[in-house]
């Protein structure tokens, strides 16, 4: 299949597909970060994670509309406002859901999975009822449009670059929060020994609630970023949920670095194969590869051997 292309062309293809893969990688990382916090730290499977992301996307869309209609002069900066609002909206919803539902189910992870699936159905229907069944797209501010030509045959879109940059920043913030802040230390303490953590004065219920809210908030930001590269519909979140879970599991649920590495591997494999095979076969092969490896190494790629 390589024989149809010259060497230079092949090089460009790999770079371009690599770039497309990096955008996919960014979406995976943003989705997976929130999920990794919730699943990795709390052991909760949140099947509605995609819907939290889409909430962020809708918030971004409406913010853009608001700026377009009332504050056109500030339109260039609406995205940053939208991102903050998306974080707050998804985070607040997450906090409510944790209080109403998740906290009753910590001892029954399989049941959480079913309950959050129910939640995702409800949210999808609410989006459809309130925001309409059609997909909506935001208008990009001018500075985010266009592309940069790296060589004659290789160009990259600015919005893609922006999303990648954003992903990097968010990842660093989350990593600092989890591994450097006092709060992150509390979260990890609760994960390792809930009873002991409670005994030394950590309010484990509060830690749980904020951890879940943080994971959902990050999903909201992911949705915000998502609008830069795709349109938003009531069921858009569903498309990514399985892939994202595989990313988290593949990386070894408790490791942030593993999540990022596995998001990179999966997205690159998929987008590179996509050019040579049909999109669906590329996805099938990627997922099969991941599932196959997980069967051989169920603890994920990047975990240490521990006594269990």
């Amino acid at each position: 299949m390589f024989s149809d292309y010259s060497l230079a062309e092949l090089g460009s293809i790999f770079v371009m597909q690599g770039f497309a893969g990096l955008i996919l990688f960014s979406v995976f990382v943003l989705m997976a970060l929130g999920l990794a916090i919730i699943f990795g730290q709390m052991g909760v499977i949140n099947m509605a994670h995609g819907e939290f992301m889409i909430l962020g996307a809708y918030v971004t869309y409406f913010t853009s509309q608001f700026f377009l209609n009332y504050l056109p002069s500030l339109f260039g900066g609406y995205f940053f406002v939208a991102m903050g609002l998306a974080f707050l909206a998804s985070g607040a919803l997450g906090m409510f859901i944790e209080w109403a539902m998740i906290r009753h189910l910590y001892k029954r992870p399989l049941d959480t999975l079913l309950a959050t699936w129910g939640l995702s159905l409800i949210l999808q229907q609410l989006y459809r009822s309130f925001f309409g069944p059609r997909e909506v797209g935001v208008e990009l501010p001018e500075w985010m449009m266009g592309s940069i030509a790296l060589t004659d045959s290789v160009e990259v879109q600015i919005n893609g670059l922006f999303v990648m940059g954003l992903t990097t920043v968010i990842t660093i913030v989350v990593a600092l929060l989890m591994y450097r802040s006092r709060w992150g230390k509390q979260v990890r303490a609760v994960v390792q020994n809930r009873i002991m953590a409670g005994a030394v004065g950590i309010n484990t219920e509060k830690v749980d609630r904020y951890t879940f809210a943080l994971g959902c908030g990050i999903a909201g930001v992911a949705g915000s970023a998502f609008t830069m590269i795709g349109s938003t519909g009531p069921t858009s979140g569903q498309l990514y949920i399985v892939d994202t879970f595989l990313v988290v599991v593949f990386g070894g649920a408790a490791s942030l670095l593993g999540t990022i590495a596995s998001a990179f591997t999966i997205s690159q494999a998929q987008s590179t194969m996509e050019f040579f095979l049909s999109g669906s076969m590329a996805k099938v092969l990627t997922l099969l590869g991941v599932v196959g490896i997980l069967m051989l190494r169920p603890q994920g790629l990047f975990t240490l051997k521990v006594r269990r």
Partner: protein, 259 residues
């Protein structure tokens, strides 16, 4: 059910003096050696008690013998059969039974069903489908239930037993397998004084046909039952011998009282 060693050839010159021979056993978790070059031997019909401070590797030793944890190096020979490479279920079939630290019984099943599941017949998928609760099974369950003082509780759900009764039930579940080596991890933890006395009685009664390894902290109880005591410290044998000898061993005194 006394499974004779199938592949372990017992030739005359290396006839097994010991029921269990642990030699050079080491296991490391990410560099930390929980058990370090450990060797000890258990005779037929012996009650061996393993004591030691927390983190000495006591439970890990039992985990290694029953196959729950795989050894990094070293050997465990049970009647000259190497256990380190066998699956957990084959180790059980070879005649090793193990009780866990927390009573590990099936809350949703009755005492009878708990014991029946441990009855060593119908252990394959097909065998379990065609297993019949015949007279022999009922008789054996009854017999074991009497030994573990639960003959009046047979049709109660295990959930409703007291803590001590749960401990006995798990011992009973092992007895019904008729193992040659019985390993008990803190069998009297959480028991009242009278329950402890009864448990000691029970252990002395069932010793007749088998050897027992017990992990225990309660020194009074240890004195009641132990033929020989092995003191573990930091994954190694610190001292071994009769209770009196071990008690007066300066090394042991230092570990327990020294700091």
């Amino acid at each position: 059910m006394n499974a004779a060693p199938v592949n372990g050839v017992i030739s005359d010159q290396m006839a097994p003096d010991f029921l269990l021979a642990v030699e050079g056993l080491t296991v490391s978790f990410d560099g930390f050696k929980a058990v370090n070059d450990l060797s000890f031997y258990v005779d037929e019909h012996e009650i061996r008690v393993i004591v030691g401070p927390n983190g000495a590797g006591k439970t890990t030793v039992l985990d290694l013998i029953c196959g729950k944890t795989k050894a990094t190096s070293g050997s465990i020979k049970f009647r000259n059969q190497e256990l380190t490479r066998m699956s957990e279920s084959s180790i059980v079939k070879a005649g090793v039974g193990r009780k866990f630290q927390n009573p590990s019984i099936y809350d949703d099943l009755t005492v009878f069903e708990n014991l029946e599941i441990s009855y060593p017949k119908g252990r394959s998928v097909f065998g379990a489908l065609t297993f019949r609760r015949d007279a022999a099974v009922k008789e054996r369950v009854q017999e074991v239930a009497e030994m573990i003082f639960l003959e009046n509780k047979l049709f109660e759900r295990a959930e409703f037993l007291s803590h001590g009764q749960k401990q006995w039930l798990e011992i009973g579940m092992l007895l019904i397998q008729d193992p040659d080596l019985l390993m008990l991890d803190e069998p009297v933890a959480g028991m009242s004084v009278s329950e402890r006395v009864k448990t000691a009685e029970l252990l002395n009664k069932i010793i007749a046909n088998r050897s027992i390894i017990v992990i225990e902290h309660d020194m009074k109880f240890v004195e009641d039952i132990a033929h020989k005591v092995t003191v573990l410290h930091q994954g190694k044998v610190l001292s071994e011998g009769t209770m009196d000898r071990v008690k007066n061993d300066p090394k042991v005194v230092e570990v327990y009282l020294g700091h």
